[in-house]
């Protein structure tokens, strides 16, 4: 290899500049690409995590690319050697496929300041949990006068034609079915009771939405008045003035962790770790918990506050007591069969 004068000069200047401004020593091949979720998630991450990350890394270049977990997997698995994404966000189901397909690099736990402060359930070395998502009963308080307290309320005859669900393509739809099975004597390995219950629910079903986003639209349109729903989706609707409330079922709120992963072979692995570090920081999670984001924190140092304290849990103890987690390793094994069955059996 030969160097000409200009290259040496440029290299020398760069080295000099890097020692003057230590922040610049984050050598960047390209912008750090953070694949976040679509909609309000992107806003939340852009407004809170990104500024914290830029401060910590001396203004490293970052781009947000919003998409669904499953799309991230498709993109990364199509270009394993040179992935277009550096940090991926995963729901529990996709998370296991990412690990199974060896698409993620482990998070450098030993170098992390915040990892030890995460709730034990979020301490996952393959990619720590940076927030929880919660699924409970969502309803329109103008039409549903008595706040629901149990999943069984969806079967009440007065809700004929006004109940909404999603199909099993989404985490929401699948988690609801598993929980249904659990409350009726089944579980991750025995979905039968859920399908039987869904057949009984059919007179009440007003809509089977293709995805959770469409389910939210249906509340807005008055098509449905009660449904299983994601806490954050409800907050977005409430912020837009749609009359909709979230209720915790007495059997517990279905919860799942959203984990952040460093993409394997990422040219920005160090920056990717720094971004996840920012996402775990108590000050970031405290800010994300407040309006208008209402993101449920995983860092035990965060004091529960506002709507989250009122509607989800007043502290980490209550959170642990009221959250129900499902075993997605079992769910993933069975899911294809369930989806096929749902395709065939659930008609409105």
């Amino acid at each position: 290899m030969t160097f000409d004068r200009r290259q040496i000069l440029a290299a020398g200047l760069t080295l000099g500049a890097m020692s003057l401004f230590p922040g610049m020593s984050w050598a960047q091949a390209r912008k750090l690409v953070f694949a976040t979720f679509t909609g309000s998630w992107e806003e939340a991450h852009r407004d809170v995590i990104v500024p914290h990350f830029r401060k910590a890394t001396g203004n490293a270049d970052i781009a947000l690319d919003p998409m669904l977990s499953v799309d991230m997997i498709a993109k990364v698995s199509a270009a394993k050697a040179n992935p277009p994404i550096d940090v991926m966000l995963m729901d529990p189901g996709p998370r296991l496929s990412v690990i199974g397909q060896d698409l993620a690099a482990p998070f450098p736990v030993a170098d992390s300041k915040n990892y030890q402060d995460l709730l034990p359930v979020a301490q996952l070395p393959e990619g720590p949990g940076i927030f929880f998502q919660a699924v409970g009963i969502t309803y329109n308080p103008e039409k549903v006068k008595t706040p629901p307290t149990s999943w069984d309320d969806l079967w009440k005859p007065e809700y004929k034609g006004r109940v909404g669900i999603t199909n099993m393509n989404s985490t929401l739809g699948t988690a609801f079915m598993v929980e249904l099975a659990k409350t009726r004597g089944g579980g991750e390995n025995d979905i039968e009771p859920a399908f039987a219950a869904l057949k009984e629910l059919q007179p009440n079903l007003g809509a089977v939405a293709p995805n959770p986003g469409a389910l939210a639209t249906l509340f807005q349109q008055g098509q449905i008045d009660i449904s299983p729903g994601n806490f954050n989706a409800i907050q977005i609707l409430r912020a837009r003035g749609v009359p909709v409330e979230f209720a915790k079922p007495k059997t517990g709120t279905i919860a799942f962790l959203t984990t952040a992963h460093i993409t394997k072979n990422s040219p920005n692995a160090k920056l990717a770790a720094a971004l996840i570090e920012s996402a775990m920081a108590p000050e970031v999670q405290t800010k994300l918990m407040q309006a208008p984001f209402y993101v449920i924190p995983t860092n035990s140092k965060v004091q529960m506050d506002g709507d989250i304290a009122r509607m989800i849990a007043k502290d980490q103890e209550e959170l642990k007591a009221s959250f129900v987690f499902h075993d997605w390793s079992v769910i993933n094994q069975n899911r294809a069969g369930w989806i096929e069955r749902f395709n065939k059996e659930i008609k409105v």
């Binding site: 669904l68 499953v70 799309d71 997997i73 498709a74 496929s97 034609g161 669900i165 999603t166 199909n167 393509n169 739809g173 007003g206 809509a207 089977v208 939405a209 293709p210 995805n211 469409a214 639209t217 249906l218 349109q221 008055g222 098509q223 899911r335 294809a336 989806i339 395709n343 065939k344 659930i346 008609k347 409105v348």
Partner: protein
Amino acid sequence: MTAATAITAPGLAGPATAARPRIGREWTLALPLAAFFAVFFVTPLLLLVAVSLYADAEMTRFGLDQYIRFFGDTFNLAVLGSTLLLGVKVTALTLLFGYPLAWLYTRSGPRMQSALILIIILPLLTSVVVRTFAWIVILGRDGIVNNLLLSLGLAETPLRLLYTEGGLVAALVQVQMPLMVLPLITTLSRLDPNLLDASAALGAGPWRGFLKVTLPLSLPGIVAGCLLTYAAAVTAFITQSLVGGGQMLFMPQYIYQQTITLHNWPFAAAISIVFMVSVLGVVMLFNLLGRASKGYVHA
């Protein structure tokens, strides 16, 4: 085509061959496009065929298992059938509504024409997602249609319109309408108005004139419009899922579900190939009709 024959004819007839080499190299003009198609269309298609030939979801061994699985289950055939039928319904309705519209256009004065063309093209200028969401607003329990029916006393309780096949067909007909109307306008405005006058002079009433003169002569436009509408309706992923809902399964969502949710790429590829071949079959049928109609027109 006709121009090419016109140029070659003298070359063949006489000794003047100067024009020939130039014609011989005309095909090179098509090379860039051909290369583009080869790289971005044929190659991915061949890859798709290759993926569909894996026997298992992990893509370790080859076999025809995916196709056997598809054709071995009546549920899959029902999904394919209902998708192809959906296209037929949408195409028939677009033709029914689109033909009078195109006819009205060719019979109107220039001012009316520019107003009509704006109305016809307007749907193309809005995103398909926006148009589809508009249909959710129209068809919902609290939507325009239900409110109208309730206030007129025609219904006691809100009807279920959203997430039904009827609603989906209505939405698709509106969304695909320009694809039908534009080719029809092209054909109809090329019709010589003297032909109708002549048929009237020979004693044909307006309906007879339409059935014996206008309709046969506009067949090429009908065929082109049907072809476009059909292909667009059966593959309309967004409208199908947003207006059709999560329990009505058509081929595009089926493919999406198998790839994105279940990561079963070989099965998804096999369904795609089956779907593509089926749609091509229908398109070829349309084309045959078109050719037959041309023979009819020239006869």
